[in-house]
């Protein structure tokens, strides 16, 4: 039934065409359908990050003197502040975990192939922005651990010839990590990166709607017709079940394992022992640690950093490198996905020993 208000709005906003699209949109059902839920899980955690992030910014002060204290205040004085920070911290981990799962599922299923190259590439940008959000957010509590992690992280680009020094200076706002770095990271974390993430999610989701859901090879090669489920409302209901489940796990962890806060960072103090970055950077951390100081007169970390950049660029151009038609198998590419998983897991476990 079209009420007066509805048709009045429709005439001005064109809602019915969007609703019609959603009603017609179908999601294929097969034994790999589970991976379709990883994308919307990321959106759920991003939404949680935005809301809890706004709330934390009500109390947080991005200054050398005030940062650590304001986080301590959120944890101890602000009503339910501890749980908001805990949710923000846990949801960041969940978001990044699902970004990796999402990426690997698409890598192995070869869903990035023609015509979905740009969907993949916008996804790699989103990966970088998500990791950057995690990295910049780690500094904001301004304790000894976050200071040293930031020193290391912002020093990494320095090894890149020509531009590296300037990148490090740009990230730090000078030669060293100081109060200028803190305000800069705050600006990245609460303004620049979220805007970029919103923009790239828009492109990413638009492309998914335009190109439709991709089918994995094993399903596509079968002759019989694939079962489908209407996106609205059937698939959305299923997604809601997944969201509720994930939110329950998130809340449980957030309540029982809130993040700690060390004493305020001292720019002159030696790096604390047992220093570690967040879990999603551990494999890179360990890689940097095991590279020898010199390889044929070149700094070991220069080579390590250049290799990491090369890997990121290869990842970005994966759909161009593997430009086989969608129905061809790609065993080598799948093999590299598993190599990456084994490498990342091994390095992570090693760094924890």
């Amino acid at each position: 039934m079209k009420t007066g208000i509805r048709s009045w709005l429709d005439e001005r906003l064109g809602i019915s065409s969007i609703a019609g699209f959603l009603r017609k949109k179908m999601v294929p059902q097969h034994r790999h359908s589970l991976w379709y839920y990883t994308g919307s899980a990321i959106l759920l955690f991003f939404a949680i990050q935005v809301v809890t992030g706004f709330m934390l910014a009500f109390y947080y002060k991005p200054t050398l003197e005030g940062a650590n204290q304001s986080v301590a205040r959120i944890m101890t004085e602000v009503p339910l502040g501890w749980i908001i920070r805990s949710i923000h911290s846990w949801s960041a981990s969940f978001m990044i975990a699902f970004v990796f799962i999402h990426l690997l599922s698409i890598w192995i299923a070869k869903s990035y192939r023609r015509p979905r190259e740009f969907t993949w590439m916008s996804g790699v940008f989103l990966l970088v922005f998500t990791l950057a959000s995690g990295f910049t957010g780690y500094l904001l509590p301004w304790d000894d651990l976050s200071l040293s992690a930031t020193k290391v992280g912002t020093d990494i680009p320095r090894s890149v010839p020509f531009v590296g020094v300037w990148v490090t200076k740009f990230l730090r706002g000078g030669e060293d990590v100081t109060g200028d770095t803190l305000t800069r990271f705050f600006s990245f974390h609460v303004s620049i990166l979220p805007l970029l993430i919103f923009a790239f999610i828009a492109v990413h989701v638009y492309l998914i709607q335009k190109l439709g859901m991709s089918l994995p090879l094993s399903v596509e090669s079968k002759k019989e017709k694939v079962k489908e489920l209407p996106f609205w409302p059937n698939f959305i209901y299923r997604e809601m079940v997944v969201w509720l489940l994930l939110f329950g796990i998130l809340m449980t962890l957030a309540i029982f394992f809130p993040p700690s806060l060390e004493k305020t960072a001292d720019l002159m103090a030696p790096a604390p022992e047992g220093l570690r970055p967040e879990w999603y950077f551990l494999f890179l951390f360990q890689t940097l640690k095991i590279f020898p100081p010199k390889i044929l007169f070149i700094n070991g970390d220069t080579i390590a950093v250049l290799l990491m950049f090369a890997a990121a660029i290869l990842l970005f151009f994966l759909p161009i490198i593997d430009n086989k038609p969608a129905e061809k198998k790609g065993k080598v590419i799948t093999f590299f996905a598993y190599v990456f998983i084994v490498f990342a897991v091994t390095m992570t476990v090693w760094s924890l020993l």
């Binding site: 020093d155 990494i156 030669e175 002159m268 790096a271 047992g274 220093l275 951390f285 100081p293």
Partner: protein, 149 residues
């Protein structure tokens, strides 16, 4: 000399001119914006310390001072002379600590080791710790960059 064939058409030339102008116009905005993003660096040319603060040091011990925004370390050698370091790891910029019982500098970030003269001896550091020169003038210790000597 008049060329028979032109390398580009009049349209291409004008488009190139317009594009080049637009590029230069944008660059004139980009340059000051970039300039804004890099605050002046603050590495000091010299730091003056009162000698009385360091007079009572045991030989072989170290004491910290501020080298601009970086930590500096003053070490008293066995013969009573002083040696100054920028106490920042040459691997990835973490602050190092001096372990007097081991007579070594240690960086906890990636397990880097330096001997008592700041020479890198273990772990990932590629270079020795940066040294500063120390001069005593009356009741003051003057710490300067090595290159300024």
């Amino acid at each position: 000399m008049k060329l028979k064939h032109s390398f580009f058409t009049r349209r291409q030339f004008l488009n190139g001119l317009l594009g080049g102008w637009a590029g230069a116009f944008l660059a004139s905005f980009l340059y000051p914006a970039l300039k804004f993003c890099f605050p002046p660096t603050r590495e000091p040319d010299q730091v003056v310390l009162p000698f009385s603060d360091f007079e009572d040091m045991e030989p072989g011990s170290v004491r910290n001072f501020s080298w601009g925004t970086k930590p500096g370390m003053l070490k008293k050698r066995a013969d009573g002379s002083y040696q100054a370091f920028v106490a920042v790891c040459t691997h990835l910029d973490c602050n190092v600590v001096y372990l007097p019982d081991k007579k070594k500098f240690f960086c906890a970030c990636h397990d880097g080791w330096y001997d008592e003269n700041g020479v890198n001896i273990g772990g990932p550091p590629p270079n020795p710790l940066r040294q500063l020169s120390v001069k005593r003038e009356g009741e003051e210790l003057i710490i300067t960059k090595k290159s300024v000597e």
